[in-house]
C-alpha cells in the first residue's frame, strides 16, 4: 500500500471516509516509509506503537460512522516537533539536559491535535532548544534534507524545525507541528520544498511548549500544500487561558474560505529585502529571479503590486540576537538539575557547583553561546545599551510593518537568501544567523507568515517565497499562498 503515502491530507481523509482503506493501513504505510528513511535522522523518538493504537481508535470511529467529518484529522499521521510536551512520551527539546524528561501533561496544541483525531507518528528532531537554522545543533545528531546536493551530497533541512520539515518532504507523515521563533518553520519549509506557516503571535497556545524566547515563540505547521496547511493550522489554533499571551479570538474556518482568487488585492514588495547574506546588495540572482517570478504570478492573478519600504529591516536581525538570547537565558535558568532533567554525576562541593557542572554537561555549544549572550546583555551596566536598545529597535521594525500595511494587504518576499546548503558548510556564527534575515523581522512584529515552494534552482533544490500578513489575517496569506501554489505547479518530490 505504499501508494497511500502519495495522497494529500485532504485526499487521505476522504479515502478514509469512503472506506477505501483503513487508518491502520494508512499509518502502516507511513511507518514503512519512516523505516526506509532512517538515514535522514528525522525522529528523536518514533512512536509507531502509539500511532497504531491511535489509528485503530480512528478505525473504530470510521466503522461506526462517527469518523466522517466529525474530526478534521481523524486517522491522519502527523509528526510532532520534540519541543511540545507529550504526556508519557519522552520530550527532549533535542538537548542532553532533557534526555530523560517524560512529561506528565500534554501541551495544548498536541491536545488539540489529538482531539481532532490525529495519529502521532513520532517526535521530530530539531536544533537544541530550537536554536539554529540548519538542524546541526541537536544532541541527537543532524537531520538530513531529503533533497540531495551535487553528487548526492547531504544537505541541511534548515532549522530549527528541521525534522518537522523533513518528515513532510520525505513523505514520512502527512503534516507536522513545528515552532517558529525567528523563522524556524518558514526557513526549513523553503529548504525542503514544503509549505510552512507561522500564525499571528497569540493564535496558538504556548502552554506545554518548551520555551526558547517567550515573546517570539509560536507554534505552526508544515504540510504538502496550502490546503492541508490551513486545515492543520486551524486544528491547533485557539484561545487557551493557560497561556497568558494567548489571545481570545475566534479561529476562522481558513480551509473552507481558502481561495486563490486575489483579484484587486494589494501586494507590497519591500525594497530592503534585496540584501543578501553579507548585508549588502548581494542577494543571489536565483533568489531575485524567483521573487520576480512570484510578482509576475500575482500580477497575472489580478493583484496590484505596490513598492514599499521597511527601512529598519537591516537592524531586525541584530536586535533579534539580543532579544531572543536574553529571553532564552532567563527561560533556560530552570534547567538546574533539581526538578527535572539531567543532573551531574560528578563530585560536587556546593549547590552552585552542582548547577554549573549540570548545565555545562547538559547544554550544547550553541545553547551555551546564546545563554552567555543573553546573560551579558541583561547584566548590570549593559542592560540599557543592549537589551533596551534592541527593544526600541523592535518597536521601529514593528512600526515599519504597521505603516506598510496601511497601503497593502500582504507582503511578498523571498523566504531565504539561499537554497539549502551542505552539511558541514563552513560559516561563521553571524553568517549562519543571516539565514533568517528575511523571516526574523515579521517575528519581531508578531505577524503571520507562510512559505510556499515555487521552483527548483539550477542545482535542483527547492526555493520558496514568503507571504506576510496583518495580525490575525492568516486567511489573506493562505489565499495569496494558494495563488502562488496554483501558478507555480511545484512538484514536491525529492529524488
Amino acid at each position: 500500500m505504499s501508494s497511500l503515502i502519495e495522497l494529500s491530507l485532504k485526499e487521505a481523509k476522504s479515502g478514509l471516509e469512503n472506506k477505501d482503506f483503513t487508518a491502520l493501513e494508512l499509518t502502516d504505510s507511513y511507518i514503512k516509509n519512516c523505516e526506509d528513511s532512517k538515514s535522514l535522522n528525522i525522529f528523536i523518538t518514533e512512536t509507531f506503537d502509539l500511532a497504531r493504537e491511535q489509528a485503530k481508535e480512528s478505525d473504530k470511529k470510521y466503522q461506526s460512522g462517527q469518523g466522517n467529518n466529525a474530526r478534521a484529522l481523524e486517522g491522519i499521521p502527523v509528526g510532532v516537533k520534540d519541543l511540545f510536551c507529550t504526556k508519557g512520551v519522552l520530550t527532549t527539546a533535542a538537548s542532553n539536559i532533557l534526555n530523560n524528561f517524560v512529561p506528565e501533561y500534554e501541551s495544548t496544541v498536541t491536545s488539540k491535535l489529538f482531539a481532532n483525531g490525529a495519529v502521532m507518528i513520532g517526535k521530530t528532531n530539531l536544533d537544541e532548544f530550537a536554536m539554529g537554522s540548519a538542524n546541526i545543533t541537536s544532541h541527537y545528531g543532524n537531520v538530513i534534507n531529503p533533497w540531495k546536493g551535487e553528487e548526492g551530497a547531504d544537505l541541511v533541512p534548515g532549522g530549527s524545525s528541521g525534522g518537522s520539515a523533513a518528515v513532510v518532504a520525505a513523505k514520512c507523515s502527512l503534516g507536522s507541528l513545528g515552532t517558529d521563533t525567528g523563522g524556524s518553520i518558514r526557513q526549513p519549509a523553503a529548504f525542503t520544498g514544503t509549505v510552512g506557516i507561522k500564525p499571528t503571535y497569540g493564535r496558538c497556545s504556548r502552554w506545554g511548549t518548551v520555551a526558547f524566547a517567550s515573546s517570539l515563540d509560536q507554534a505552526g505547521v508544515f504540510a504538502r500544500n496550502v490546503t492541508d496547511a490551513s486545515l492543520l493550522l486551524q486544528s491547533i489554533s485557539g484561545y487557551d487561558e493557560k497561556d497568558s499571551t494567548s489571545v481570545n479570538k475566534e479561529v476562522p474556518d481558513w480551509c473552507a474560505n481558502l481561495s486563490s482568487d486575489i483579484k484587486g488585492m494589494k501586494i507590497g514588495i519591500p525594497k530592503e529585502y534585496r540584501q543578501g547574506k553579507d548585508g549588502g546588495d548581494d542577494l543571489p540572482e536565483e533568489i531575485i529571479k524567483v521573487w520576480e517570478q512570484g510578482i509576475e504570478w500575482l500580477k497575472d492573478a489580478g493583484a496590484e503590486i505596490v513598492d514599499i519600504s521597511l527601512p529598519n529591516t537591516k537592524y531586525a536581525l541584530p536586535a533579534y540576537y539580543i532579544i531572543a538570547p536574553a529571553e532564552a537565558s532567563s527561560n533556560l535558568s530552570r534547567y538546574d538539575g533539581v526538578r527535572f532533567g539531567h543532573r551531574t554525576k560528578e563530585d560536587i562541593s556546593s549547590l552552585d557547583d552542582m548547577y554549573e557542572k549540570t548545565r555545562a554537561e547538559g547544554f550544547g555549544t550553541e545553547v551555551k553561546r546564546r545563554i552567555m549572550i543573553g546573560t551579558y546583555v541583561l547584566s548590570h551596566g549593559y542592560y540599557d545599551a543592549y537589551y533596551i536598545k534592541a527593544q526600541k529597535v523592535r518597536t521601529l521594525v514593528a512600526n515599519d510593518f504597521r505603516n506598510a500595511f496601511k497601503d497593502v494587504d500582504a507582503i511578498l518576499t523571498p523566504t531565504t537568501p539561499s537554497a539549502a546548503f551542505k552539511v558541514g558548510a563552513k560559516m561563521s556564527n553571524v553568517e549562519m544567523y543571516m539565514n533568517d534575515v528575511f523571516t526574523v523581522p515579521a517575528s519581531l512584529a508578531g505577524l503571520p507568515g507562510i512559505s510556499v515552494p515555487t521552483s527548483l534552482n539550477k542545482d535542483g533544490l527547492p526555493l520558496g517565497l514568503q507571504i506576510l500578513g496583518k495580525p490575525w489575517d492568516e486567511q489573506t496569506i493562505l489565499n495569496v499562498g494558494s495563488a502562488i501554489e496554483k501558478a507555480a505547479c511545484f512538484e514536491l518530490s525529492p529524488k
Binding site: 501533561y105 515573546s215 535558568s333 527535572f340 549547590l351 534592541a390 556564527n429
Partner: protein, 95 residues
Amino acid sequence: MTLSKNDITKISKLARIATNEEEISKNIEELNGIFNWIEQLQEVDTENIKPMAGVGESTLRTRDDVINDGNIKDKVLSNGPDVAYGCYSVPKVVE
C-alpha cells in the same frame, strides 16, 4: 567594545555554566565576533522610542484567586533526579 577573558569568566559564573581555559578563549573570539556585528544597532536613532517587550497587550489577564489544580505531588516529583520523602533533594546549602 571587546569582551575580555575576565568578562567571559564573569558571564559564565552569572549563567552558572562551568567553563575551562579552552572554552574561554574560543568564546572570546566568537562572542566578540557576534557583538561586533550587533554593534550596528548603535547607529539607529531611538530617541523617544518606547521599548517593545512583546507583541500583545501590555496588561496581563487576571482571574479569580481560586484553586484549580493540585494534589498531584507524585506527578510533580516524577521527573526529579533525586527525590526523597516527597521532596527534591539538593546538596547542603546552609552550613
